[in-house]
Symmetry: C2
Subunit: 492 residues, 2 copies
């Protein structure tokens, strides 16, 4: 297992791309901008899905499935939404191939099989879902509708990167409909909090909750709540968004309900989503120059056991001890792999499991058998200790819990030390170029200033933090009055 991984300090971006491929998470496919999620990467995504799905159901949501295609006329009904996605849509225009008369054995699009109306491959499903909700809602008794969908979506991005930005990606999208504005806002906030809880406690990635500015808002939303994370290179990553849609889609698709007094009103909506992009956040928050570092909650293999032996007799003894340990760990629902491949040496195995981010590695050799011990190494700190077999099961259980917390704390410490308050545009630029991270600065609240700052520095307003303090100040760029700081950063 020769890792040959580029180091983060050498080239962070290259390190990321190499790591995703070498750790068997994903790879580019033969289809422009589309990735193949490999079994090891998909197993991590499945763990995310299972936990999120549990959280959605606990908060009253049900899953459903809506069509992949959106007829153009339906797509364009909510104009802002349509405009926001029009430039990156895959469009189905034909429904049949035929033999190419000029090329033997080749096929061509059959010009006689042109669709009367083009179909857009969903970049997001508000249009198709709200066109359905129209028939599902008549009275206040039909509300709220609390529905989630696990699906693939397509956005024709020009520059793609594994997990972070791909033409096709997997996600979940919640779409809810409510009788009142207050209830819809409460739902948007609730789902932002569910996301924050999941990303912080399950993925060990600290996030900042906030509101997007108007220019960064979801196309068709009245308000976008977001959670923002910080990667090890000082760039921010939007980890999830939850949108209060007002009555925009209800009006575009004529979704009305009779309220308690029998009066017709438009429904209020929300939508919210997280995607396979979270895989990118996971890699970039915790991993190191040796490879992936996975929080125990997300690790498909939590403990790997490597036997170290010279004779078959030694291996037999070791395997007996390992089988006992494995059985005990599995009872605690800890996932264990015994790597007894005879084709590879221990050093190769160590490197491979480090690359793949397995949280705990146990090595056991003849000396350990003699002494009744195991050698336990933790992936995050790369430290080792010798543990008595009497205590090994509890030790590993505790260690996994501790690592989950330690990873969060480490990331939090990095994040906290990378929020810098600045009070001038010179300082803004200098911090951005030298230190990176979030820059907390006064802003005059105008889209014009926001855009100029972006043009000059590539930094965008990541969010207006929900816990923003009221503070009199002047905009770092325009000098106009401001009543609180917002967070800027370069972002993925």
């Amino acid at each position: 297992m020769s890792k040959n991984l580029t180091t983060r300090s050498d080239d962070y971006s290259k390190w990321y791309n190499e790591l995703v491929v070498k750790a068997d998470l994903a790879e580019n496919s033969g289809v422009r901008g589309c990735m193949v999620i490999k079994p090891y990467g998909y197993a991590i995504w499945e763990k995310m899905q299972a936990e999120l799905d549990r959280m959605f159901k606990e908060t009253g949501h049900s899953n459903a499935y809506f069509p992949l295609f959106v007829p153009k006329s339906m797509f364009e009904a909510e104009e802002k939404n349509a405009e926001g996605f029009a430039k990156e849509c895959a469009i189905v225009t034909h429904y049949r191939l035929k033999n190419d008369p000029d090329k033997d054995g080749k096929l061509m699009v059959d010009p006689n099989a042109k669709l009367e109306e083009e179909l857009i491959v969903r970049p997001t499903s508000e249009a198709i879902i709200w066109s359905t909700y129209k028939n599902w809602v008549q009275s206040y008794r039909d509300l709220p509708l609390l529905i989630n969908q696990w699906a693939n979506v397509v956005r024709w991005e020009m520059r793609t990167r594994l997990f972070l930005r791909t033409a096709e990606f997997l996600w979940q999208e919640g779409h809810t409909a409510h009788a009142t504005k207050a209830e819809a806002i409460e739902e948007s906030e609730k789902m932002m909090n569910v996301y924050a809880d999941f990303v912080e406690n399950f993925m060990a990635i600290p996030v900042i909750k906030g509101l997007k500015t108007e220019s960064e808002r979801f196309a068709g939303a009245e308000e976008t709540y977001c959670i923002e994370a910080l990667m090890q290179d000082g760039k921010a990553l939007q980890a999830g968004t939850s949108h209060f849609l007002g009555q925009n889609f209800a009006k575009a698709f004529d979704v009305k309900f009779a309220n308690v007094e029998g009066k017709l009103e438009h429904v209020w909506g929300t939508s919210w989503g997280v995607s396979t992009r979270l895989m990118g956040a996971l890699v970039m928050t915790h991993s190191d120059d040796q490879g992936l570092v996975l929080p125990p909650n997300l690790a498909p293999i939590q403990v790997v056991i490597v036997p170290i032996y010279k004779s078959d007799e030694q291996l037999t003894e070791i395997t007996t001890a390992v089988n006992e340990l494995t059985a005990q760990l599995r009872k605690l629902r800890i996932s264990v792999k015994y790597d007894d491949r005879t084709t590879q040496k221990p050093g190769f195995k160590f490197a491979e499991w480090e690359l793949k981010g397995v949280p705990v590695r146990v090595a056991v050799g003849p000396k350990d058998i003699e002494n009744g011990t195991f050698e336990v190494a933790r992936r995050d700190t790369l430290t080792k200790e010798v543990v008595s077999k009497d205590n090994i099961v509890n030790h590993i259980g505790d260690l996994l819990e501790r690592m989950q917390v330690d990873l969060f704390n480490k990331a939090m410490q990095y994040r906290e030390s990378h929020i810098t308050e600045v009070n001038s545009f010179e300082e803004f630029k200098s911090v951005l170029e030298t230190k990176g991270g979030f820059i907390s600065a006064h802003w005059d609240g105008t889209a014009a200033t926001e855009e100029k700052i972006k043009d000059l520095t590539k930094a965008t307003i990541r969010c207006v933090p929900l816990d923003q303090k009221k503070e009199e100040g002047v905009c770092v760029f325009s000098g106009a009055k401001s009543s609180g700081r917002v967070l800027f950063a370069k972002a993925y």
Copy 2:
């Protein structure tokens, strides 16, 4: 809850369509041929998914995800497979919309955003997956590859029906690669057996295992194993298929491995899938004129409890008793719904839960509270009995298990009484028209006879049963020699 369901004897096909919609399983969408799977229907599909996924993993398979799109040149590489699907492909030709200069607020396909190569929306994923396997396989050590994908696929069917035949559907597709022919055949058979086990024991639907004839085989396969079920109207339904692909895709995509001697060989492949079509099989096997009948294993709600009361005081007493029962049932992982809606009368609720196929209904009124009893009704037989509260939990647990078995046995009895041996073409036609079901008949083994029979009767050979007896005979149609009977039927 006015059901107004067409009866099966009146119009089986109409009964099916109405039931799927009225029981909230699915509905047609605004997109031609595509359905919306509603939360109640999707909850059943999720139970199927969970069980199948568990079975796939237990047999050594991992999940992964491959792109939705297949470039045309890749699609056409395996010629038979391409030919088989060419006539029903949705094709993406453009990647951008723009404002329509002639119609304010409307969009049009941007003619400048034409793809250099068209993309086929996957009708099945052999092409994209084998083009990937090429890079994953070098040596015999990389084999077998045992991979499954949960995905949506698109086949542009002209006549669609909810669940049974839709332009887009959800499925799982397993794609495996092996070093030897024997191992690949073993895998195809194993997965056919996994499907049979699942459909019989989890869905309570008996199936016949068999091989497809050459003309009914999957395009690109050397052999197609199938499981065939029989619906209540005497038509057959193919519930799952497992294909031995030989080296066809390995050759088309140049997937070779170095064997133990270091010699390069083409890999052997299989693929296998079941889809949301199983939802149709579920509905058509068990349901009746009152609505859905769900096997307990697949019921999102296994027990519904309806209070029957006149005063608030009575309701309070009932609710106390119900809460106790609910807690006990949930401990046994039985899913329970207490339908205490005040907006509907008991009769309405009874009819609604019958329509939705909830296996067990418990009713409880003041008399029951007085006597320490519950009234328990089972959905399949529509029978009721009064059960003492001391015994109610065990009673319900046992009843659910019994219903699962009884449903299978009832379907099996129907199936067994609808396999008819015939020895002349007259008899063939007469049984087909009057009784329906599977017709066991001698066939001369030629595609020509098979096609003529299909043209004349609409019956196809569903399979050559794996347990076919050697029996000398003559083909019912041609009179030519035959060595065993095959099963014909009209089919969905």
